[in-house]
């Protein structure tokens, strides 16, 4: 009796061990707690059996992704100037559209990639300075511009350099610094739009506008 029981236990253990050893070579099976025999490819069935559910990692089947829809961009509300930053109120900047062109204050132009005032343009600035000193009630807006060749951000900085170069020259000629406002448009407000040097050279400019104080 005892030997028979041991015999049976040994055999069944052997069988179980063999089965496990086989399973160990297919690690995917060890993930599921008790892989049902449905994983074996079903033979061509003559009878219409219900479709066997796919054997999957349990948590994947249970997971359902329900996503709150991302609405299309809402039409922009009129911008309220609520500052995200507690920044000092900017020095009152005059509205650019209140300024106008005046024939007595002429534009100057620049070489490619440069912001230095060329000798010929210095003479134009001398004349501008003379008129501005004779008309002390006029405020000046200097716009700095670049031609289209160039990246957006660097051209904003270069445009500002061009405007400041002219301002510094005029201040050195005796025009009061507080009369100036400088604004860079980078390459965003070109005077002309052709892609050739004739147009580009017109776009590399400082544009002057004035308004009465």
């Amino acid at each position: 009796m005892v030997t028979r029981a041991v015999h049976l236990a040994a055999v069944s253990l052997l069988v179980t061990v063999t089965a496990f050893a086989g399973c160990a070579k297919r690690p995917a099976m060890t993930q599921a707690s008790a892989p049902p025999p449905a994983t074996a490819p079903a033979p061509v069935a003559a009878k219409p059996a219900p479709p066997p559910p796919p054997v999957v990692v349990q948590e994947t089947v249970k997971e359902t992704v329900t996503v709150t829809p991302v609405p299309a961009p809402a039409p922009p509300a009129p911008p309220a100037p609520t500052a995200a930053a507690a920044q000092p109120a900017p020095t009152t900047r005059p509205a650019p559209k209140e300024f106008a062109v005046n024939a007595n204050v002429k534009d100057i132009f620049f070489d490619f990639d440069k912001y230095n005032v060329r000798p010929g343009d210095a003479k134009i600035l001398d004349a501008n300075a003379a008129w501005l000193k004779a008309n002390p009630g006029q405020l000046v807006l200097i716009e700095g511009h670049c031609d289209e060749r160039g990246t957006v951000e660097y051209n904003l900085a270069l445009g500002e350099r061009r405007a400041k170069a002219a301002m510094n020259y005029l201040v050195a000629q005796g025009v009061q610094a507080s009369r100036f406002t400088v604004i860079s448009y980078g390459k965003e407000r070109p005077f002309c739009r052709e892609s050739n040097e004739a147009c580009w050279s017109q776009n590399r400019r400082d544009h002057f506008l004035v308004k009465a104080q």
Binding site: A28, A72, P73
Partner: protein, 441 residues
């Protein structure tokens, strides 16, 4: 007696041998990753995946979602560069495992390594999908994973992108980037407005409508806001808009001079930017929670275009302190400053989310996208046709989008970081300055 003894000895040996097998914890293996590695390790460059039309399990599919979903997922997986997608006309009949098995066998015989079977139920205005992934390299067509999705039918494209990203996750361990957005600048009349579209160019919609010049949009990492420079109030000031919420724009910086070149830190808490309020363009960091500005550079040169390393501990930027603009790197407090490129005119640096490479724009006559290792080595050109500027990385670092003039007028293209597969990404407009969002939360 001998048999008994043999059995007993054998039993003991078995027990000893069993212990490691029985006590080893189940290996947390990603089955799909194994398949992918086996396929690509075996010499294939891509995993061939079959995506038949989805099977309609219930409801009426008047919008043709069963077909569209399969097509969009196929396009997403093709775009990823990891897969070669094969489709089949006609859906898999429902509740017919034999037909499915035959379909997979046919695909496997044609070289497919995997199959995706979608089961679609249209319930009112919702789409429910169970997406089942199969390993066709195994003779028994072993299922890899199944996942359920449930979205409103107005979100059909997003549903497809989520499924595609999950397929990529199953095979690589990282989700795909189909569920992302692009912000960019579109020229409309005399204005430039900020737009947002799906990464594949679908559904472009304006974020600004002020009729002014709006520039350089960048996403916050939580994909809730876009920072940009705008002349809408006359001067180049920095704003933040919220495309998906009814929430007014915020002013981030409106100092005298230029307020430009925003870049959110990877943790979303700071914005690096350029201000010239202190005399010339310098790099500052704004802490959003406190509103405090910290100045990082002090040099009369132009210092601009800051961009964060993915660990948030360093910034790359451009400075022309040595003559023309070139790339510099500093730590997030402004110290340890060093130049990393030599050359003529380098701008628009963008640090890859993987941390190893920085893309930038080089002017050599025309403009081209270049890449350089973050330590400054191996600078190489990626584009060569037309003018190419303004690169932006996908959040997994596997793709670059950029603007190009090669077709006449500006258009946004995509390519891989080695410069291969340059192709249009957004169509229908004069588009510049793309910014690629993180995956939608």
């Amino acid at each position: 007696m001998t048999i008994r003894r043999i059995l007993l000895v054998g039993l003991c040996l078995m027990v000893v041998g069993l212990v490691p097998v029985l006590t080893r914890p189940p290996a947390p293996r990603a089955q799909g990753v194994d398949v992918f590695l086996n396929v690509t390790g075996g010499g294939a460059k891509k995993l061939n995946i079959a995506i038949p039309e989805f099977t309609l399990m219930g409801g009426a599919d008047s919008a043709g979602a069963a077909k569209s979903l399969a097509n969009i997922i196929g396009a997403d997986l093709n775009f990823s560069g990891l897969f070669q997608v094969a489709s089949a006309t006609g859906p898999v009949p429902r509740n017919n495992p034999e037909a499915l098995r035959k379909l997979w066998s046919d695909f496997a015989a044609a070289g497919a390594h995997a199959g995706l079977h979608g089961l679609l139920t249209v319930r009112g205005d919702r789409l429910e999908v169970e997406a089942r992934l199969y390993d066709l390299t195994s003779p028994e067509q072993r299922p890899i994973a199944a996942k359920k999705f449930d979205l409103s039918s107005s979100q059909m494209r997003r549903l497809a992108h989520l499924i595609a990203d999950d397929v990529v996750l199953q095979f690589t361990g990282q989700p795909g980037i189909a569920d992302t957005k692009l912000a960019f600048t579109r020229a409309t009349g005399g204005a430039k407005e900020i737009y947002v579209a799906d990464y594949d160019g679908a559904s472009p919609a304006p974020v600004t409508r002020n009729g002014s010049v709006n520039l350089s949009p960048v996403w916050s990492p939580d994909v809730r806001s876009v920072a940009f420079t705008s002349f809408s109030r006359g001067y180049p000031d920095l704003y933040r808009a919220f495309p998906f919420e009814r929430r007014p724009e915020q002013v981030l910086a409106a100092f005298a001079g230029i307020n430009t070149s925003p870049a959110f830190s990877p943790d979303g808490q700071r914005v690096a930017l350029t201000l010239s309020k202190d005399g010339n363009p310098e790099i500052y960091v704004l802490t959003l929670g406190t509103g405090a500005f910290r100045r990082l550079t002090r040099h009369p040169a132009i210092d601009t275009e800051p961009n964060w390393a993915p660990d948030g501990r360093q910034l790359v930027f451009i400075s022309d302190r040595g003559g023309g603009p070139r790339l510099f790197v500093m730590d997030a407090e402004g110290g340890n400053l060093r130049q990393i490129t030599e050359g003529n005119h380098h701008t628009q640096p963008r640090w890859s989310p993987r941390g190893d490479v920085i893309a930038f724009t080089a002017r050599e006559g025309g403009f081209n996208i270049w890449a350089v290792n973050a330590d400054g080595t191996n600078a190489r050109r990626l584009t060569e046709t037309g003018d190419n500027q303004s690169a932006t990385w996908s959040p997994d670092g596997r793709h670059l989008a950029f603007q190009t003039s090669r077709l006449g007028g500006w258009q946004i293209f995509a390519m891989f970081p080695d410069g291969s597969q340059q192709a249009p990404l957004i169509r229908g407009g004069a588009d510049t300055s793309p910014s690629w969002s993180s995956r939608l939360p």
